[in-house]
Symmetry: C2
Subunit: 209 residues, 2 copies
């Protein structure tokens, strides 16, 4: 299985981001509001009707299936629907990942009510989502080399508080088709979760390489 992709021009990329960025941001705020609201029943029911009308208006035309777009200048896939970094996915925090020249990546982000597990703490599975994604970015050199998660081990040192956080990842070493990546999540006091993972190039990419 190879993955077909379309190249997207820098202008079109920016145009789409400008159009859809506010939509995603608005939906993200609505997700948060719908968790925290305690308005009267009538207002909740009116909200449902309004939301269903908006959804119907958006559903009038849809693109078909998944699209893998690559940016004409960076060569990187355009993170569109991804649940960690997608700028059209209201589930995504979204992570904005920075790549340094040495191959490390890092991101600073804020998690609110929608990501809560234990009271005032980030759900352990959300920490896993952040780290799986970030280690994958490091292992795949910014998603330019196809390397998918083989194994991932997470060590939870203490609860991760909701609020501003940082995550980092880097590649320790590579061996043939495997990259060994490490990373961590930090709050203002230091590391809360550590991760290590093995990311593997799939067979179709080895043959193509």
């Amino acid at each position: 299985m190879s993955v077909p992709f379309e190249v997207i021009s820098a202008d079109e990329h920016d145009r789409l981001q400008e159009l859809y960025g506010p939509l995603t941001a608005a939906v993200r705020k609505l997700v948060d509001a719908s968790i925290r609201t305690s308005v009267d029943d009538e207002t909740v029911r009116a909200a449902v009707a309004s939301i269903e009308a908006v959804t119907a208006s958006l559903d009038r035309r849809q693109h078909d299936g998944p699209r893998t777009l690559r940016h004409e200048i960076t060569g990187r896939p355009v993170a569109w629907a991804d649940p960690a970094i997608g700028w059209r996915n209201a589930i995504a925090p979204p992570l904005q990942i920075q790549h340094t020249e040495t191959g490390r990546c890092w991101t600073e982000f804020t998690l609110g009510a929608a990501y809560e597990g234990p009271p005032n703490r980030v759900h352990g599975g959300i920490c896993a989502l952040v780290l799986d994604h970030l280690l994958g970015e490091a292992a795949s050199e910014g998603l330019t080399i196809p390397r998918f998660t083989g194994t991932l081990t997470l060590k939870y040192l203490r609860g991760t508080p909701l609020g501003p956080l940082r995550a980092e990842a880097w590649v320790d070493r590579t061996e043939g088709f495997k990259a060994f990546a490490r990373g961590r999540i930090l709050d203002a006091e230091g590391v809360t979760v550590e991760a290590e993972g093995i990311f593997v190039m799939p067979a179709w990419a080895r043959e193509a390489g």
Copy 2:
């Protein structure tokens, strides 16, 4: 740190679920529609304005901070905001977890566009979220015993397709304050991801026990 909780009556639980269930379902469909839409720019901008108006109507009254509610009959925490199972969180698929008499748990669920990583495949971090949560449910006897994730190891055997899936978890053994849990995600062809984890009772709960 102990966690205060309020008991919620079965009637009030059902009333809230009936009121907020449709709101969350509507927001979840909107998340999906906003990823897949390709309507004209004007419709997208009108959607943003409508969504912002709904959010403002819901924000008029909010409950304060996290609330841990326990169901008067089951004694289990009420999954309200949780990003894996919360029936007020549009990020959650949501998982509806079944507990068997032998302590195993399982869930059948469907993941769509909002959970996609590689084309047509579930994001590895979303598999991690599902398994972290399900192993935690098994290890904590349905969240009635406080045991939080200590370590979690995930082994990705192959890509997990979008669509209908099943996940299972059980406790292998317990040792003092630790429970050793295992689990997996399956599609129609068999296992796609395996997990094992150590779940640990926090110090405050040991003292209280």
